[in-house]
């Protein structure tokens, strides 16, 4: 599965903006990203949003078996 890592996380953690991983859900993806870049899991709940096949997904238990792409992007809240 293609993992697209958007700025600033590409340079901040991984040194790459494309990764190839096969997580079974988004919790699993966070664990795998943590293994690549220690510290990522600690900031992920506060700073990261995931989009699965183009749609933002806040349920990290979401099964990814059928997914083609996950985008890791900055979380934006609001005021």
């Amino acid at each position: 599965m293609r993992i697209v890592v958007m700025p600033p996380f590409d340079k901040e953690f991984f040194g790459a903006d494309r990764l190839d991983l096969a997580p079974h859900n988004l919790f699993d993806l966070v664990e795998r990203l943590e293994a690549l870049a220690p510290g990522f899991a600690a900031i992920a709940p506060a700073r990261v949003h995931f989009a699965v096949d183009g749609v933002l997904e806040t349920d990290w238990t979401r099964e990814l078996a059928q997914a083609r792409e996950v985008i890791v992007l900055p979380r934006v809240g609001g005021g």
Partner: protein, 756 residues
């Protein structure tokens, strides 16, 4: 749960019933933060730094402690030492160590007004006197306020632990550039070089305050058994609980936070400044303690929206098709890292289809109060630059500015700046509504001009908990964990009444404390009507199901043989066929049919969609004084579906008014000594009613298919377009392009009379 593609006519959604909190508020009965008193309460006060940047060498509190009537004194040493932990409980991520040090400085003060010590005493007068008896020995440090100055070689660095995030290779020395975010794609330089028309500009904005009327205030009571209560005005009492517990390193369940009415927040009340300090003072004194900021403290010590320096280049083909955009900006982060750069990047150019783009945002630390969310945080600044440049581009191409926007407007399926496809957005619908509005073609008078600007904000979903319960007489209570800032009690009551098909007056919505309802995220991000509304609908649907099930059991039929119609259960089969049972009849017998009727919905709402707006502004520019008068203003916005149109219009009008103030008058003004010169509403000039015409709000409804009633979120979008709409109107009226905010009379006059 999805909204039907053809919306059915609603009984309550879209109506304008009397607001449930109205009488209390207009008769002065509503309890705001400084109205609340606890028995035996002490009065607190905070000593603040007179220096913009200094090392704290020592704090001597002995004389203050000895003053008669003083019951407790606290400094940063009274807060526990914490490990770094990035939390997202308010609006954006904050390191809890920064939150703690912002409540009470430990080793360094980072801005004028930074809290260094606190006192609790028997009266406000004694508390203030005691502050004067505290001796703080400082070692003054060089300070920096400006964005480019803070990034210059040799600038004083605020934190030796901050290394720029988002750059490669990772820096080996600390910097005031906290974060760099870059998005985009394509060949920007090539496209600009071959464009038929290009525009280039540098735009600047100063930090501005949210300007809420009610200053921050709270009462905290921390008992000897470890149980504590806080009464406070905030945008999220669960965020207050989580942050306060984390700063004090105590369990969240030991703190019960009761939300009081809120006199405005606009993003600025999504963190804690006072609550942990009041807790420490309460623990030390054994008494409840009130802390309340003065207006001056609000300006000096709470978060403004960041100022900015923004460079923009746009290019278009001769027919007006945008071919490239290059945007790079610096945003003030203030004393601690903030989160506005990412939001600014994703809010810059996504409302247009631009095949080649580069958007770069950099957050810059400086010796000002830490920036905090303000209505669409990070969007208005960059939108001012982009929408001003769009106007300039329209002029160069000889194309009507509205038509240029229509030609390039993003639609469903187009990529956002992040690359994600837009969902069912309504920018084109807003532009078409603006074009058709009489304002767009109305005649103008002497020295008058008309400007237009479009913009958007992503909105949000997030966690909400709602409890819907039916009393024995059939009336319904909706308890939420979302503070009511913009009318959520009314909108929740409307949605519950819609589901249950009962009169609106039969439903009462309340905001429950942290011990009485499950967790809800702050009221912010334009999320509450969407997310808490979704939970309300879900809980009300479950209540309806329970009522049907109970009626079926009482009739001795199966659930499939009953139906909910017009607020009552109808029996469809058997001996009771045709009979009806009201909610009151069912609830009145609920104790003997399985127990009370109630349902909780706790969810993390997804499927939110952004809102888009288009504002039309007419200005009249006085050539002799440079004064700008807003003559007419129309704000068009896609809201999904308006649950209570009065509140929707109020949000649109309020956002537009704040944006006009940002455009024309508001700015933090610092002296050369690094101290704020205009820390009050006399010198910090927000618009008042006499400054503004009636702002006409035009509601466009493009339903959100992911919400049961089509809601999108409203509150933040309307502050995005006004800055450029006003600037474009001034350009149309007077022929001068102002790129520095605020466009106060002196600046306008100088632009009109460049000879001096």
């Amino acid at each position: 749960m999805n909204a039907p593609s053809t919306m059915k006519p609603f009984r309550h959604v879209g109506t304008r019933p009397v607001r449930p909190d109205g009488v209390d508020k207009v008769t002065g009965k509503a309890l705001y933060s400084t109205d609340f008193k606890a028995p035996g309460m002490l009065w607190g006060a905070i000593l603040r730094s007179p220096h913009p940047h200094a090392r704290i060498l020592s704090i001597d509190t002995k004389k203050a402690e000895a003053l008669a009537g003083v019951k407790a004194v606290a400094t940063g040493r009274d807060l526990p030492t914490l490990e770094s932990l990035v939390m997202h409980v308010g609006e954006g991520a904050s390191d809890i160590v920064d939150v703690s040090h912002n409540c009470l400085a430990l080793d360094k003060v980072l801005y004028e007004g930074h809290a260094v010590a606190a006192v609790a005493a028997a009266s406000p007068e004694i508390a203030r006197e005691a502050l004067g008896l505290i001796t703080v020995e400082y070692e003054e440090l060089a300070f920096v306020l400006g964005l480019e100055e803070a990034l210059a070689e040799g600038a004083p660095v605020l934190h030796d632990t901050v290394f720029t995030k988002g750059v490669d290779p990772k820096p080996d020395r600390p910097s005031n550039a906290a974060m760099r975010v870059e998005m985009g794609g394509g060949d920007v330089e090539g496209a600009l070089a071959s464009a038929a028309a290009t525009v280039t500009g540098r735009y600047t904005l100063e930090p501005v305050h949210q300007g809420y009327i009610e200053p921050h205030a709270c009462v905290a009571s921390w008992n000897g058994d470890g149980q504590a209560q806080i009464w406070t005005s905030s945008q999220g009492h669960f965020a207050v609980r989580a942050l306060t517990a984390s700063v004090l390193a105590i369990p969240q369940a030991d703190i019960r936070v009761t939300p009081l009415e809120i006199g405005g927040g606009f993003g600025g009340k999504t963190t804690v400044y006072l609550e942990p300090v009041a807790m420490v003072l309460s623990k030390k004194s054994g008494r409840p303690v009130r802390l309340a900021m003065t207006r001056e403290e609000v300006f000096r010590a709470t978060g403004p929206a960041p100022g900015a320096v923004i460079d923009v280049r746009l290019g278009a083909a001769a027919d007006g098709t945008l071919v490239a955009a290059d945007v790079e900006f610096l945003y003030h982060s203030g004393a601690y890292t903030a989160n506005d750069a990412g939001a600014g990047v994703s809010s810059a150019i996504g409302h247009y289809r631009i095949p080649n783009s580069r958007v770069v945002g950099i957050e810059v630390l400086c010796n000002r109060p830490a920036a905090k969310a303000y209505r669409a945080p990070g969007a208005p600044q960059v939108n001012f630059a982009v929408e001003s440049a769009m106007d300039e581009l329209a002029g160069k191409l000889g194309i009507d500015p509205l038509e240029l926007r229509l030609k390039n407007a993003a639609i469903e399926g187009d990529p956002q700046t992040t690359g994600l496809p837009w969902g069912r957005i309504g920018y084109v619908e807003c532009l078409e509504a603006a074009k058709a509005h009489p304002h767009w073609s109305a005649p103008l008078g002497p020295n008058q001009g008309r400007g237009i600007a479009g913009g958007y904000w992503g909105n949000y979903g997030g966690p909400s908990t709602v409890n819907v319960s039916v009393a024995e007489d059939g009336t319904v209570t909706v308890a939420t964990g979302s503070p009511d800032i913009g009318g959520s009690r009314a909108s929740m009551a409307i949605m519950a009444a819609e589901v249950l098909d009962i009169p609106y007056e039969q439903v009462r919505a309340v905001v429950a404390d942290t011990a009485s309802i499950g967790v809800s995220m702050v009221t912010g991000g334009s999320r509450t009507t969407f997310a808490t509304g979704m939970a309300t609908v879900q809980a009300a649907e479950e209540v309806k199901r329970l009522l049907c099930e109970r009626a079926a059991r009482m009739w001795g039929v199966i659930s499939d043989q009953v139906e909910w119609r017009s607020g009552e259960v109808i029996c469809l089969d058997g001996e009771k066929q045709g009979q009806a049972m009201s909610a009151a009849a069912i609830a009145g017998r609920s104790f003997h049919s399985g127990g009370p009727i109630a349902a909780v919905a706790a969810l993390s709402a997804k499927g939110w969609l952004p809102g888009f707006g288009v504002h039309i502004c007419d200005t009249e520019v006085d050539p002799e004084t440079g004064h700008v008068k807003i003559v007419r203003y129309t704000a068009v916005q896609d809201v999904g579906i308006a649950i209570h149109p009065d509140y929707v219009e109020g949000q649109i009008q309020g956002g537009a008014a704040q944006g006009i103030g940002w455009a024309l008058n508001e700015a933090y003004i610092y002296g050369k000594d690094g101290k704020l010169d205009n820390a009050g509403f006399l010198d910090y000039r927000m618009p008042v009613a006499s400054d503004l015409p009636m702002i006409e709000a035009v509601i466009v409804e493009v339903p959100n298919p992911s919400h049961p009633y089509g809601v999108k979120g409203v509150g933040e979008v309307p502050i995005v377009p006004p800055l450029a709409a006003v600037a474009n109107a001034i350009h149309a009226a007077a022929g001068v392009r102002l790129k520095d905010l605020p466009m106060a009379p002196d600046r306008v006059y100088a632009a009109l009379h460049p000879e001096g």
